[in-house]
Symmetry: C2
Subunit: 336 residues, 2 copies
């Protein structure tokens, strides 16, 4: 399998590292020998029709931070690489944008129209143009897989659609953002206020310098839209979600909840066709009550009752667990 | 797809009920129209080459408790039904036996040798003769699926093997028995002793009249063996597990653990090739700390870190979620 890798930040580099680390294992266990034939970032593209030496590319980009500085790199955009460098599959891991979906949206559409499968962790295009993307995949007879876009290492979409296939998923409730869960966990344990806890999280590198996207609930909402569409077969967008963030939660509210055996968590919920992101009371002994940066989701099903899955919501290796599993599933499908 | 149903107790009846309830959904969603052509219990077999009326069979067995009392039933054993009644797949849900594996073992081997797929919830045969069973499946070109045998509704095996396919599973830790988890949860909350809490659980119907199989750790051990073999590709048996039950746990030990932020849980662990079932200290805020009759398992993986799944460990409908998903996976594979 020949791969165009589009995006070479934390996730893209993690993908290259995972392939290096697991090269032998993948060959021995699955007979799977992927070759990355191009790597693009916003500065340019490096191409090798026979497959790039990923260790060399990684170490050369680590020195300067830019793909264009690699030996032999060209001023070719990601879009051009998708059009011009022959491959079977595009891994799209450019920075996400929930307003326009670009540049990921164009990358994915162009790839699929060129008959290439797409595996992505990029939330924006999926939260905005889910139907257009899945229909383009169908029309061109290619796979579009995006497990990594919602819930990091938690394999929620494949779990619901492939493994719990005998069950109808009636509702989904999830803590889908590690930053807000970390802040709420600290506020609960330490009795501290929102602003000071946010600053602490920023100092630790857990919250971004501009934390709006996380604490407003937008990130959770984008993920909820993807889960709803992929698992429940809906066609919702980011704009359908009722969103409330965590910035107005007080230590007093948390203390009151605690007295009654509850914790306050930022929960994304889809139930009876309604999508909502808001702080919710969660019983302390419920599986949804997970601490720190952990993510969690509970499916209410018709046969299995409640199934909950807990995992790391972010991180380069964790996200690449989902990307690699998606690629392997395409590999196995195309061989079968 | 034509099915021989072998075993018509709680799980077998639940299977028939699930098919009745989901008949339309299965046809509309997957184009799947299974027919149960025979149902056997220890008293006899009822056969209909064109597919049994499951509602009628259920209501007639509910009156007398025996398949032999159904109109048209014959004194045919399950083994004979597998041999003589034409079908594609056998659902084997007879009572489990971890000493001999019978009658499940013979049912499964005979079915596969006759070219029939097998889906089962029966732990005993798998915990004793895993290799023989999987090799028989391979030799005869049929599927043997047993998600329901370990962890009830939690889809552990399919999750690890199909969804986390890019990850290596380094260790498994699980609370795989609802009865013992219920007893330990009550002892922790109420400060009660083992014997009185066991009696309470028996009065509530959560513990069996003879609770030895659960509280000794044997049930957990059988499930651990199945998970180890199926997920890690090993060939262990029940006899390889170091087992300690929960009967010697005191309220004092639980209180001491609590002071340090831990709970005591009966945990099955496979790590570095060693299988163990024993009471363990679990940090209170760890996802493994689930209450009541819930089951849970944590996979330590090389890419995704820790992935935890929580679900109902037992129950007729919950177990049939796993059975139905296994059947659907065979259905989709055989169509593809």
């Amino acid at each position: 399998m020949r791969i165009n890798l589009i995006g070479f930040g934390v996730i893209g580099k993690g993908f290259a590292r995972a392939l290096v680390r697991k090269r032998t294992w993948l060959r021995e266990k699955y007979g799977f020998q992927p070759e990355v034939v191009s790597i693009s970032d916003v500065t340019g593209t490096v191409v090798s029709e026979g497959g790039l030496d990923l260790e060399k590319t990684l170490s050369s980009v680590e020195r300067t931070g830019r793909v264009i500085d690699c030996p032999g790199a060209e001023e070719m955009t990601g879009l051009e690489a998708i059009r011009e460098v022959d491959a079977d599959l595009v891994v799209e891991v450019t920075p996400t944008n929930v307003d326009t979906g670009e540049p990921g949206l164009s990358h994915m559409l162009t790839a699929m129209e060129a008959g290439k499968h797409v595996v992505t962790s990029n939330k924006g295009p999926l939260a905005l143009e889910f139907k257009r993307l899945t229909e383009t995949a169908k029309k061109n007879g290619v796979h579009l897989k995006f497990e990594a876009s919602a819930g990091g290492a938690m394999p929620l979409i494949n779990l619901a659609n492939e493994i719990l296939s005998g069950d109808e998923i009636l509702s989904i409730k999830g803590i889908l953002n590690g930053t807000t869960n970390y802040i709420l966990t600290r506020m609960t344990k330490e009795g501290t206020g929102f602003e000071s806890t946010l600053r602490e999280a920023q100092e630790l590198g857990i919250a971004e310098t501009d934390p709006t996207y996380d604490i407003s609930g937008s990130d959770t909402a984008a993920k909820l839209v993807i889960l709803t569409n992929a698992i429940m077969g809906k066609n919702t967008t980011y704009r359908d979600v009722k969103i409330e963030g965590i910035n107005r939660i007080t230590p007093e509210a948390i203390a009151l909840a605690k007295e009654d055996g509850y914790v306050i968590k930022l929960v994304g919920t889809v139930e009876n066709g309604e999508l909502e992101v808001a702080p919710k009371l969660v019983p302390m002994n419920h599986p949804l009550n997970v601490d720190g940066t952990l993510n969690v989701a509970t499916f209410q099903t018709d046969l299995a009752g409640e199934i909950t899955i807990v995992g790391t919501g972010a991180g380069a290796m964790e996200t690449n667990s989902a990307i690699l599993s998606d690629i392997l599933s395409i590999f196995r499908n195309s061989r079968g």
